[in-house]
């Protein structure tokens, strides 16, 4: 990083990578979205609410949410084995718990909502980008939501708190903190941290990330507006 805070990819410390989101990109899924977030290229598809198979997993008091985060074999530098890794299973759980607060599952007892995320190309922050796409796909599926979920990481690179750590920064970075919020409700629904921060840095990092989430939210909104009010496609 330069002394003026210009990062290896030319961004300022508080600047997001380029983001574009398109809703309704898949034909078979009930809802879908495609996101490019820096070099991340991620698809999300949603099915449901629908019947649960196997049936004994159904809950008569509430709907359930399932989430699968999966990386394509060609998405990373070294070819990835297609079988889900422990990392992918953990991220699947964390994403599910980040999306669930935005849903009103009690209204759909005995059903399941399935969220499938495929990382076609991975860069730093793929779990946040996955979440951004998944939230748009849920909205695209017409599933009632309390709010969107918007995600973005902040971190510490070269002793400075920066927004939206990319892959190169993550390799050398001192800390990475993915965060997701429900922007209107004001809740943090995903938060993780790897790396070392002072309490003061922790506070700054969290606020920086939340700022980024709010910017992401505008991109998500625009994708839904384009899908439903500006194109005659659906």
């Amino acid at each position: 990083m330069t002394e003026d805070g210009i990062r290896c990819d030319g961004r300022r410390v508080d600047q997001l990578r380029n983001i574009s989101i398109k809703a309704g990109v898949l034909k078979n899924a009930d809802g879908s979205a495609y996101i490019e977030f820096g070099k991340n290229k991620i698809l999300a598809g949603v099915f449901g609410p629908r019947d649960v198979h196997p049936k004994h997993m159904a809950n008569q008091d509430t709907g359930i949410l399932r989430c699968r985060y999966h990386m394509s074999p060609f998405s990373v530098t070294e070819r990835k084995n297609p079988a889900p890794s422990r990392r992918e299973i953990e991220i699947s759980k964390v994403l599910k718990e980040a999306l669930q607060p935005a849903l009103i599952l009690k209204d759909f007892p005995r059903t399941v909502i399935d969220v499938f995320v495929e990382v076609l190309q991975a860069d730093g922050g793929s779990r946040c980008a996955a979440l951004d796409a998944a939230a748009v796909a849920l909205a695209d599926a017409g599933i009632p939501m309390r709010d969107l979920v918007s995600a973005c990481a902040a971190g510490k690179v070269a002793d400075r708190i920066v927004l939206d750590v990319n892959n190169e920064e993550d390799q050398e970075g001192q800390a990475d903190m993915p965060v997701a919020i429900m922007p209107n409700v004001g809740k943090v629904t995903l938060m993780q941290l790897d790396g070392i921060l002072t309490p003061e840095e922790y506070k700054t990092c969290l606020q920086t990330a939340i700022g980024g989430c709010k910017t992401v939210y505008e991109v998500q909104r625009r994708a839904l507006v384009e899908r439903y009010f500006e194109s005659g496609e659906k």
Binding site: L26, K27, N28, A29, D30, S32, K39, K41, L43, A44, G45, F47, R50, H53, R68, H70, S72, P73, F74, S75, V76, T77, E78, R79, P82, P84, D114, F116, V117, E118, L120, Q121, A122
Partner: protein, 267 residues
Amino acid sequence: MGSAILDQLRLDKILDLLKQGKRLDGRALDEQRPLIIETGVIPKANGSARVKLGNTEVITGVKVQPDKPFPDLGDKGILICTAEILPLADPHVEPGPPTEEVIELARVVDRGIRETEMIDLHQLVLIENKSVVGIFIDSSVIDSAGNLFDACSYASVAAVLSSTIPKYEIKDEAPVLVEGVTSKPPVKTLPVSVTMARIGDYIIVDPSKEEEMCMDARITITTNSTGNICALQKGGNDGFSVDQLLKCSEMALSVGTKIRKQLEQLM
């Protein structure tokens, strides 16, 4: 039961149209759906393609990396071809180990590329019997709307054509990447897969999902650039007459010509 009635109604409707030489989506019997090929969609991969065949959509990535040769095949590089139907591609696909359908899909795509000898694997040897280059061609179906065989095959061939092979040098018996030096893949011929379905006495090319739901049998024939037949797989729960099989091989050659031209533009 309801589903059985719907199946019958669909079949009746399709057969009715076929008698008039028509199909549900307005195509002629030997007409493929529009094929759109885009390459370079995954810049981090060594090659990639996104293919739309009608509403069916596939993304294929190629990874090239040093590997050990298979035992007894020390004079050849490695070629691995996989396919997966992502659960977001189809409401009936569930995450988990591959079904027999998906295993067949991957193996048929693999054979089309392997048996035509599309890639000259002998050119991928670094040290005989010890170190070779491996080419991994992984296809992910992202929208499943019939005829995954051809869609995955076209995406795989296109991804290979778009790929660049990094150069490796041997240092201390181990392969080391030479930065910035790449070459085109050693491609010898262009395999073109054409899948046909039999419904009643009719043979149709490139069946849609609805047509697959009521087809009697299926056949996938792969031809090479010199007009030979190189791989074939019959599927489905009924058979073909010999005449139908001969007709299918002719259709595979004639229909394949158009696709081959489209693929040649990527070379």
